[in-house]
């Protein structure tokens, strides 16, 4: 098992090599730290602390600590550098950057001068709970397998003839494109009979010689999940705080990739020169979820909290477009085909539901001098534990008159249960306060969601920041540094050992939060 430390943020997107496959469920549920600058600087802890608008998205009971009101805006900037290796090749770098939006919105604290020990609060906020902006690239040589084998295996396993498979809705589009361009064809050899083979390996299989392929893959993704939340919270005797939040995440995802395989043997007339698959996949939709939580403050300096996030029910619509180009030396003339040519001139679209995991959170805080006089407030330390049931992601067919498609989604769900597991996330952070100036630091560890111990998917976030609060105005600055590892499968073979690229990511995001008390 590799010991490398993963940093991911955008590497969520590196997982999304297919649509409506297990990686999609993980990408949409593998949220990353987000919040105000103050919250991100302290590692994202907010289950027990409260008093920050980020509580809308972690523990709504934290809103109940407000008896005042404020408006908050949190612009930010994200950058990353992914270094990937593939089958022992040299590292390939991919850099990019994007603007992001931390938690922004309004909080209305509502206190009653006649009932000073009771108050309520209302908040509406928006947050970028996942950012899909990412880019990875890798290349290497391979003398073991070809991406065309995935299509060959699918066609062989279908029991369909070549002509029927080319028009069958039981066969995936890339496989049908591979058939159309002769990247996949039948081969009859002594001892093996007639097989379905990938043309890049055809010569080697036919003549029992070695083969060598150059493989490269570039994946660029964009979009994210922006969640709008409306929260109500109440406070009883300044000891019990409780709240609920209705969340509406808006998902927008686009992935563009180019996979190329070329002959690395410098041989002519070995049936293969090059093949390229260009894909564009988009996914859009809206979801809904509920977050409930409570905070108990037995004494002035201790707070404990717990929250539960229901799964988000997404209604999603995907579209997929692709082009395959092949140059098969002496086997066939250069050929290209698009999805639309195989789909009666239409770009295929898919509607389905996705149910995201449950989240269970507990936390504790120690507040140094939580008193009214600002000059006596000294700081706090807080920690959260979060358990996410990644294996409970579920797809459901969302199209009428296509009940049979549910069989496909049942298979996806079955795989999700087997390849993902529940993961524990831990966060800790603190603040030192010097009257109007504050200094903060935090650390977050996100556990590996992969069941397979060979695959590493943990993430670490190291953060720090400063803040200033005076004259009814506050401004905070934070920097969060990410360390991630991830894996990317350029293709998956159902009946043969697979290969994958390892990606080490580093980068960070700078976020500023400005707000006004009123």
């Amino acid at each position: 098992m590799r010991k490398s430390i993963l940093f991911l943020f955008g590497s969520l997107a590196t997982l999304g090599a297919w649509s409506q496959v297990p990686e999609d469920a993980l990408r949409m549920s593998w949220s990353t730290p987000s919040g105000t600058a103050r919250n991100q600087a302290i590692g994202g802890v907010m289950t027990s602390l409260g008093g920050d608008i980020t509580a809308n998205f972690i523990n709504p009971a934290g809103i109940a600590l407000y008896k005042t009101s404020e408006i908050v805006f949190s612009p930010g900037y994200n950058f990353f550098n992914n270094k990937s290796t593939y089958r022992g090749s040299a590292e390939t770098n991919a850099k990019s950057s994007s603007f992001i939006l931390g938690t922004s919105g309004l909080v209305f604290g509502i206190s009653d001068r006649y009932k000073p020990n009771k108050s309520s609060a209302f908040s509406i906020a928006v947050n970028r709970s996942a950012d899909f902006n990412n880019k990875i690239a890798y290349s290497g040589t391979n003398n073991f397998s070809s991406f065309s084998e995935a299509y060959a295996a699918e066609v062989a396993g279908s029991g369909l003839s070549i002509d029927d498979a080319l028009n069958s809705s039981s066969i995936s589009f890339p496989s049908r494109m591979a058939l159309y361009t002769y990247l996949v064809d039948t081969l009859t050899t002594e001892g093996f009979g007639t097989e379905v083979v990938g043309t890049p390996m055809r010569y080697a299989l036919q003549h029992d010689t070695a083969f060598l392929l150059n493989q490269s893959n570039t994946i660029e993704t964009s979009g994210g999940i922006t969640e709008v939340a409306i929260s109500f919270a109440g406070n009883s005797n300044d000891k019990f705080y409780f709240g609920g939040s209705l969340g509406v995440p808006i998902l927008n995802y686009e992935r563009n990739s180019v996979y190329t395989e070329t002959d690395a043997t410098n041989q002519s007339n070995n049936y293969f020169n090059s093949a390229t698959l260009r894909e564009r996949y988009t996914s859009k939709g809206v979801g809904v979820n509920l977050k409930l939580g409570a905070i108990f403050k037995p004494v002035n300096f201790i707070r404990v909290g717990a929250a539960i996030h229901t799964p988000t029910l997404y209604g999603l619509k995907d579209s997929y477009d692709a082009t395959m180009e092949t140059d098969l030396d002496n086997y066939n003339e250069p050929t290209s085909v698009t999805i639309r040519e195989l789909n009666d001139g239409y770009t295929p679209e898919y509607k389905y539901d996705l149910t995201s995991p449950w989240r269970f959170l507990v936390g504790g805080s120690y507040v140094f001098h939580g008193v009214e006089d600002i000059k006596q407030q000294r700081g706090f330390i807080s920690a959260d534990l979060e358990y996410v049931t990644y294996s409970s992601n579920r797809f459901k067919n969302g199209e009428e008159n296509t009940i049979d498609n549910q069989e496909y989604y049942d298979a996806v769900n079955s795989v999700i249960k087997q390849i993902y597991k529940g993961a524990l996330n831990a966060k800790i952070g603190g603040e030192l306060k010097f009257n109007t100036i504050m200094a903060r630091a935090g650390f977050a560890y996100y556990g590996n969601p992969y069941e397979d111990k060979d695959l590493d998917g943990k993430r670490m976030y190291i953060s720090g920041g400063v803040g200033y609060r005076d004259k009814g105005f506050f401004i905070d600055l934070a920097y969060v540094h990410r360390l991630t590892d991830d894996v990317n499968f350029p293709y998956r073979l159902p009946d043969k050992a697979n290969t994958y690229a390892e990606t080490k990511g580093s980068g960070g995001n700078v976020i500023v939060t400005a707000g006004i008390k009123f």
Binding site: V21, D52, K67, T68, I71, G88, S104, S111, A150, A153, A156, G157, G159, L160, D163, S168, S169, S170, S172, F173, P174, Y180, T181, F192, T194, V197, A204, T209, L212, G285, V288, G315, D329, Y331, N332, N343, P348, Y350, K351, V367, G370, V371, E372, E399, T402, D404, Y408, A411, V412, S414, Q418, D454, K471, G472, P494, D495, A497, N498, Y500, F518
Partner: protein
């Protein structure tokens, strides 16, 4: 939508930052993480045992009201004040009409999320019959689907019509093959059926040795170069044996709407 929403928030923030007259410009600015001060508490009456026991507060307005248990009832008082305000303005109080100009002006309702709050009862979101409650998003898969109808029956020159269910262009349940995740090697490959078994844990992430065109393929990856026995490790069985009953045999996923006709691959031109 996201940029628009961000722009709206930015606009709100800019306006607020530039024009908001903060009540905390002088004095300390509260930090709700540590302590939230709330509104100044009304002075507590001293010397009256009853009011002290109940945590009562002195009203400067003497129009206090009591319920039948002779307890102070702030809500009765607030209703009283509200009624006087409405009557004096010539308007009808709540309960007599939908529109209530004073609902948000009630000085005692601003902190009350209960039934008499404008934000609760007068909100169109509150009606169970209001369509806003429904999951009527464009993306809602349970909404009546909109099908694209090729005009004149000629597929490929799309015209658009709505409401009629027609055969759509043939395409798989997913754009991609789930079979890549599923074990197809240990079962019959004559029919396609997603097997609920994930074949993982088998990886090959390095090349065995330098390429040599004279090297036997099978000698590289565990196969036996001295015979023709297949090495399932590097050459799994992918026999081509199409069934005569294509696409609709038991266990296979039926076609979800074939458009008929279909595509034929062009004739191969090479050797």
């Amino acid at each position: 939508m996201i940029p628009k929403f961000s722009g709206l928030l930015a606009g709100i923030a800019v306006v607020a930052l530039s024009s908001c007259s903060s009540v905390y410009k002088s004095g300390q600015t509260p930090d709700d993480v540590y302590y939230s001060p709330g509104k100044p508490v009304a002075a507590v009456a001293k010397g009256d045992n009853d009011t002290e026991d109940r945590g009562e507060y002195v009203e400067t307005n003497k129009r206090r009201s009591y319920n039948r248990n002779n307890e102070y009832d702030s809500y009765n008082y607030r209703d009283d004040q509200y009624m006087r305000m409405m009557i004096s303005s010539g308007r009808r109080p709540y309960g007599y009409g939908y529109y209530d100009d004073f609902a948000m002006m009630d000085p005692m309702m601003y902190n009350n999320w209960r039934w008499n709050s404008y934000m609760t009862w007068n909100s169109p979101w509150n009606s169970p019959y209001n369509s806003m409650w429904y999951w009527n998003s464009f993306y809602n898969p349970y909404c009546r689907p909109v099908y694209v109808i090729p005009s004149g029956g000629y597929i490929g020159k799309p015209g658009y019509g709505y409401g009629n269910v027609v055969a759509r262009p043939s395409r798989p349940a997913s754009a991609f093959g789930m079979s890549s995740y599923l074990n197809t090697s240990s079962n019959s490959n004559r029919t396609y059926k997603p097997y609920s078994y994930y074949r993982g844990g088998s990886y090959n992430n390095s090349n065995s040795r330098e390429y040599n065109s004279g090297t036997s393929r099978r000698s590289l990856f565990g196969g036996n170069s001295n015979n023709n026995n297949n090495s399932s490790y590097d050459r799994p069985s992918r026999s081509y044996s199409p069934s005569s009953n294509t696409g609709s045999s038991s266990g296979s996923r039926p076609s979800s709407g074939s458009s008929g006709g279909g595509v034929s691959r062009p004739a191969r031109t090479g050797n």
